[in-house]
């Protein structure tokens, strides 16, 4: 079931001013059924025209709330950052096909780059609830632009990399993962910038890997066929419907 509802904003606070925000919204219908890795299409204002796809960061069924973690990039996310508690927010969701959640025999690994960490937190919570042990690897450009680490450290062992080395290991997530015995994990999940996903795809024979992709979206509902990504068999699939989460082995980053 997909809902189009007016959620009520409970809070909308900067984690880093003018950069990354956390918004909590009261929206019972969506909170009831949302699964990790699914996303929302949010009308941020009269301009831009299109809704903006934003992942679900956290779900609280009891409190009937959903949260989003978002980075201010342009007009749409700027609009979001200016909204205040008690205002209404026009949301469609939950959308798309999320991550696989079940009890694994061995550990699970979450890999996030930048704002790509957003869908991984709810996933981590649900994996933990299912009795899994989790390790987390996150990459940011610097200490000043890293965020939400306190959330992820609650899930399991957290290792951070920054491009400038100001926090954790210097480099991308590759600097961390190159020292990992990936075959000790039963499952890995990742979301982040395309170069990171391309690198992770080279590891897909070592660990069962799911990737959450991004694509420019028109409808977010599976109707317009604008958001497609290439599959290894040469076909295209809709990121908003069959995705945003795909098995790494399914997707092709070749031009």
């Amino acid at each position: 079931m997909i809902f189009k509802n007016n959620g009520i904003i409970i809070s909308n606070e900067p984690i880093i001013e003018d950069f990354v925000y956390l918004m909590k919204i009261n929206e019972k219908n969506i909170a009831d059924i949302a699964k990790p890795g699914q996303f929302l299409e949010i009308k941020t204002g009269s301009v831009p025209l299109l809704r903006k796809p934003i992942s679900i960061f956290e779900v609280d069924k009891v409190a009937e709330t959903i949260s989003i973690l978002y980075q201010v990039k342009g007009p749409g996310t700027k609009n979001l950052s200016e909204l205040k508690a008690n205002q209404q927010l026009d949301i469609i969701g939950p959308l798309g096909t999320g991550f696989t959640v079940k009890k694994f025999d061995n550990k699970c690994l979450l890999i996030g780059g930048g704002i790509g960490i957003a869908p991984l937190y709810d996933l981590g919570l649900k994996l933990k609830e299912s009795g899994n042990e989790i390790e987390i690897v996150l990459g940011f450009s610097s200490k000043d632009t890293s965020y939400a680490l306190d959330y992820f450290s609650k899930l399991g062992t957290l290792t951070v990399a920054t491009m400038d080395g100001s926090l954790g290991i210097k480099g991308t997530v590759e600097a961390i993962l190159s020292n990992y015995e990936l075959n000790t994990f039963d499952k890995a999940y990742a979301c982040g910038p395309e170069p990171m996903l391309k690198y992770l795809k080279t590891l897909e024979d070592k660990v069962n890997l799911e990737l959450s992709l991004e694509a420019y979206m028109g409808c977010g509902l599976g109707a317009c066929l604008s958001c497609v990504c290439k599959m290894t068999d040469g076909t295209y699939k809709r990121v908003c419907k069959e995705g945003p989460v795909f098995k790494s082995k399914e997707v092709s980053f070749d031009e």
Binding site: L49, A215, G218, C219, C224, L225, S226, C227, V228
Partner: protein
């Protein structure tokens, strides 16, 4: 009494509000929002004789208040449509208008023949695609080719034929007259305006196909002017579209001469726009004390 009953010649709908091809899939994707039987009709995603994977992404971008798309007519082909999409679509309780495209005149004949089946209410013929045999000239920019397509479709079906005009022409009235004499029962207009957008950081076009079709609110004045001109030039009914976002927009098209309207890009912004328009037109008629919306078709010409 139903104030919105819509008669487009031999093609009848419960109301004049439809959803535009390529923006609503086959309807399935919008089922959770409302009962699709409330709609006058659904113009389903463009169908071609063979399966088409479509263009390389990026396929769509918002620019200057509207959107540009270049999907490349991605679809499963007419067999897939008949076997896998139509059986469900015909249960929706609304008119199913099948949008067809081809790369030759013969393709259109083939499509019209294949789709002359139960469950298909009418054919909407998209002529905004290139005629591969004639060096890639768009069917919809040459009156002779547009006439030939209409005639070919007419000869291969007894379903109502809706010819969909491209706005990328100098004289829209001539195109409308060409399809009317070719056998069109109805004209739908407008398809998208050809446009482009450039990423100034990367210094290259945003859409992988470089150019694409521009739609949404910014094209409304152009579409409205064209409907106004075509209304004067032909004797067949018009389904108007192009940037319709609310009741006022829809009423403007009806007053310019459209006997029905279609919501396209608006479905992405708010899936309930078509339903709001149905309510809104009824309210307008009540306020004006009118018994049928047909009283205001072409009102702006008086």
């Amino acid at each position: 009494m139903n104030k919105l009953e819509c008669n487009l010649g031999k093609f009848k709908m419960k109301n004049p509000v439809t959803v535009a091809s390529g923006t609503f899939g086959s309807g399935k994707e919008f089922k959770d929002f409302y009962d699709l039987s409330l709609l006058g009709g659904i113009m389903v995603k463009g169908t071609t004789p063979e399966k088409r994977v479509g263009n390389k992404p990026q396929r769509l971008v918002e620019t200057s208040g509207g959107i540009i798309n270049s999907i490349g007519l991605a679809n499963g082909g007419v067999d897939d449509f008949i076997n896998n999409i139509l059986p469900e679509a015909k249960t929706y309780g609304t008119e199913i208008i099948v949008n067809i495209s081809g790369s030759s005149i013969d393709d259109y004949g083939y499509m019209a023949d294949r789709l002359s089946i139960d469950g298909v209410s009418a054919l909407e013929v998209n002529i905004s695609c290139p005629n591969v045999k004639e060096g890639g000239i768009t069917f919809g920019t040459d009156p002779n080719m547009a006439f030939d397509v209409a005639k070919m479709v007419k000869n291969n079906t007894s379903k109502p034929i809706i010819m969909k005009l491209s706005p990328n022409v100098t004289n829209i009235a001539i195109m409308a007259q060409a399809v009317e004499s070719g056998g069109a029962d109805i004209i739908s207009m407008i398809n998208t305006l050809i446009g482009m957008a450039i990423d100034v950081e990367k210094q290259r076009p945003i859409i992988n196909n470089i150019i694409g079709g521009y739609s949404g609110p910014p094209i409304k004045p152009v579409a409205l002017r064209m409907v106004y001109e075509v209304y004067k030039a032909v004797n067949i009914p018009i389904i108007g579209m192009g940037g319709i976002m609310n009741t006022t927009d829809a009423l403007e098209f009806i007053m310019a001469g459209a006997s029905a309207i279609s919501v396209g890009t608006g479905n992405f912004v708010d899936p309930y726009i078509p339903i709001d328009i149905i309510k809104g037109i009824n309210e307008y008629l009540d306020n004006k004390g009118l018994s049928s919306y047909t009283d205001i078709i072409g009102a702006a010409h008086k």
